[in-house]
Assembly symmetry: C2
Homo-oligomer: 384 residues x 2
């Protein structure tokens, strides 16, 4: 922690849940009390007891996933390019984005495909940021439906996928590449006002994006893993195939060997999966036998209309389950929950599992995969 | 059954396991004793008690999966075209295929992605051929490694997938399309002599292909679902993306809704999955309490080097398991097995599950999917 971060941490300590004092568009967001995995690039997640305090995650408690240092972007000179299989190429300034398009505001959860990765590593080591359970957050996003921009550009008949390209510079294989993603055309063209398939976002929780979260412009793709919500968005390309960028063609796939054959056979991960996590008590916390209040989050499968239907907690290894009270539930959003369980002396801990409105329940176990993605087995928290 | 089939059935009845008397290259294969789902196009599978009689499946007992009537092909005029991202387009006659390329012979199992589909329909109805457990067979295939043909054509740098196009004519959406498939370039270019990644095949069990199985030329792609082994092969196209044919872009994917969004998000199914089936006794057969011999087949996951490692049978609902004796095991091939179990009065039937050399065991249950593909839950056979 450098001196500035230390000051920020001190200053914001009594203000947990409000916006950080020192966040602005010209410096790094204060990473007050986050668990920082790497600083260059910044990869950090909140502590679980903080994460579960509010349904809308404060920017200061929102996980940060970056593949390169934050790019320096001059808002006045910034232009969002739209290219590829379109009738008209576009080059959109920030003021045009604000004035020429109708804005919408939606609440949606972002989560890293690698959330809970460290649990994979208990089976066999997995490379990548060793995310615990905090690489998730729920925010209010304001911006323009991607469909509105694509309609202005005019999408050609043969279009199948829309690529996003960041302005970051990632060192990869001896060269420099931007972070990239793509989404299928039906998702990109979904112009539902309440929940567009994808958005070009300028505000997070009603404030301009911070540099750590993609200032000045990012995509947010509700229901999809965070990697498809590209920060520092510089270019949109309409194509007849998925992006050939490393982070679509190779990374972010469920693979066992991670060789050329598997990369060609497997689809990119798009949707996040049904999940639930116990946030308090935290692992190895001392708890008294008797009644215990347990809190956490649950996430529905990232499909239209699917919501968290029930969350169950067990304090006896899965023999009996207590149903949790749920906070607000909606599609593409997490749901906070609270359960009361009776803890016996000598318990080996707590388990949680969620079921969503499609009747699917989280799996008890999941297969290991080489990159450690989409871990969603029943969450176990050992207590003393 | 028409008169000709009836004659064939009568004639071949005592010759089970040998080649059918009436099969030749100018008429339909005799479908002696097959369970015929549809005749135009022909879709049929053997009875399980016959299927399990020999490690190499006789052509007469090999399942038939067609999407259109068998095309009439003049062997003298036939040319296999090779096009797309190649240095030199090719047009290969049957004599050139026989004389200009080294031939290889491999044993590999083909199985329909829809094998065991009727079990999906027990949960919720699934369209498509209601395959029982017989849409699988193990044969000796002779032909030319696809890699040898592609090397002669010269594959361009940007190639990523190889498309196959049949000479059949399928009515689809008011038009006529050929059956199509594609496989990734690393699979297509795998030139291993013992087991090439893919083959252009002219012989099945050391005889020319029959019309039902693709005469004069088909592909065989070891480890992949049968749909990638295209019959009546007419054209090979090298491309930078998977085939846009209906049977790659839309069909043969694991989907829940089968809409444009899901088709765009999901990869085509390539590999077949770990499976096992009880072939004798058959369902609802009367068995005496006491010792019982159970026979069936098991299939490893269709990955290089994976073989069936163990097969277990239970006669008490999964409380205890008897290990089966295995026949020959090899990658990309099924394995026949035999187990002895003790049956109690009032048993609700037999269960089987297989484990392959990667340590993976078949799942007890599988999620329903809308097209009914890759059903590989523990196989249950009720007996009386």
């Amino acid at each position: 922690m450098n001196r500035r971060d230390f000051l920020a941490a001190t200053a914001t300590a009594p203000l947990l849940g409000s916006l950080p004092l020192f966040a602005n568009n010209n410096s790094s967001t204060a990473v007050d009390s986050l668990l920082v995995h790497t600083t260059t690039p910044m990869n950090a997640e909140p502590h679980l007891a903080n994460l579960v305090k509010s349904d809308i995650t404060p920017v200061s408690q929102f996980y940060i996933r970056s593949h390169a240092p934050n790019p320096k972007i001059d808002p006045a000179a910034f232009r969002l390019k739209v290219e590829g299989l379109v009738e008209r190429e576009l080059s959109i300034s920030l003021s045009e984005l604000a004035n020429d398009y109708s804005s919408v505001r939606v609440t949606a959860t972002l989560t890293c495909a690698g959330n809970r990765r460290y649990e994979h590593s208990k089976v066999s080591p997995v490379k990548g940021v060793p995310w615990r359970e905090g690489a998730i957050g729920n925010a209010v996003w304001s911006g323009v439906p991607l469909a509105a921009i694509l309609k202005k550009a005019g999408v050609k008949q043969e279009a199948k996928h829309v690529w996003f390209e960041g302005l970051d510079e990632i060192e990869k294989g001896g060269g420099i590449i931007p972070f990239g993603a793509s989404i299928p055309i039906p998702k990109a063209m979904d112009s539902s006002e309440k929940m567009p398939g994808a958005m070009v976002v300028t505000q997070m929780n009603n404030k301009p994006l911070t540099p750590d979260h993609g200032f000045p412009v990012r995509t947010v793709v509700p229901g999809y893993i965070g990697a498809r919500s590209v920060k520092w968005l510089g270019k949109i390309v309409v194509s007849d195939k998925p992006s050939t960028n490393h982070y679509v063609a190779t990374a972010y796939k469920i693979v066992e060997r991670a060789d050329a054959m598997e990369w060609a056979e497997k689809a990119p991960i798009y949707r996040f999966v049904l999940n639930s996590v116990i946030c308090t008590p935290v692992a190895d916390q001392r708890v008294e036998p008797g009644n215990l209040t347990v809190r956490g989050y649950a996430l529905p499968h990232g499909e239209s209309g699917r919501t968290v239907k029930s969350v169950e907690v067990s304090a006896d290894g899965g023999r009996s389950w207590s149903r949790a009270k749920l906070g607000s539930t909606s599609a593409y959003c997490w749901c906070l929950w609270e359960a009361n369980v009776s803890v016996s002396p000598g318990t080996n801990g707590l388990l949680v599992r969620a079921t969503d409105s499609a009747g699917k329940t989280q799996p008890q176990h999941v297969d290991w995969n080489k990159k450690g993605y989409l871990f969603n087995a029943w969450h176990h928290v050992p207590v003393k």
